[in-house]
Symmetry: C2
Subunit: 163 residues, 2 copies
């Protein structure tokens, strides 16, 4: 049985901002990363099984794919956290959408292919519109990478320009 | 006329390590990033025109794609620099292959779609097998992101496992 997120924040992004190559449910060619709360904890989780072509060298996952995984997992985690802080459940009101201000990934071990990846996130508020997300990426039980992302609430300019 | 690198280091990676999703010439579904010296300078350059699906929101490029671009540009730059330090031109001897130890990207401005991206790199030796690459990513004339990567010579374990 493949583990999956039952209720993902990306399922609730408004249509006009659900086109992200990493996590947009409307982007047919994208990865469709989906991020939710890990059970009843204050941690977040995203699962992904990289495709065969997402290789660095045969047998190991491409670092850029892991960076993408950390990226969308983090903006999704920040969105989950702010929505919860606003006193709302997923499905109530409009979820906030974040963009990435900075992304840092430490590659600790080569990440094997054909293993389900799991990103576990811890979210910290820096400012009401600026959140930091600390992520651990596991392949099975093995910690392969650590991420640190500063995510900010998406500025209106993003949407104005897309219309 | 689209600017392009005439002689890219990735053209010279041995076949068994030319499958990277970002820059492997043999990966049919990958991005095929190509990195070379910027004219006669000590800077490196990689060009890329993101595809339509590589969006964050419509009109702007996905941050994970920019991270991938910085990643392969940086390992390619380190490879170019070490090969030159070894007194060799591209086409002479075997080029060294690097992997990413850490990746940092600061997203300075939203990166517009349908504009050729240019990564300009500066390489610094930390240790004979460990190099740091500082990258600026431009969309046209606009500086949109800055990257900092620590790249290390690919350990033998990568190749052993791929056989």
């Amino acid at each position: 049985m493949v583990e999956r997120v039952e209720k993902a924040v990306q399922d609730f992004y408004p249509d006009e901002i659900a086109w992200c190559y990493g996590c947009g449910r409307l982007n047919e060619k994208g990865h469709h990363f989906r991020t939710g709360w890990l059970g009843d904890t204050d941690q977040t989780v995203t699962y992904y099984l990289p495709r065969k072509e997402h290789a660095a060298v045969p047998g190991f996952v491409y670092g850029g794919l892991i960076a993408s995984f950390v990226d969308c997992h983090s903006t999704g985690s920040a969105s989950l956290a702010l929505h919860k802080k606003n006193g709302l459940e997923l499905g109530e009101g409009e979820v906030p959408r974040f963009v990435t201000a900075s992304l840092h990934v430490d590659y600790l071990k080569p990440t094997p292919q054909d293993v389900l990846l799991k990103a576990i996130g811890r979210v910290e508020e820096i400012h009401p519109k600026k959140w930091k997300v600390f992520t651990e990426v596991y392949a099975g039980e093995t910690l392969c990478a650590k991420g640190e992302v500063v995510a900010v609430v998406m500025p209106d300019t993003f949407l104005k320009s897309s219309k």
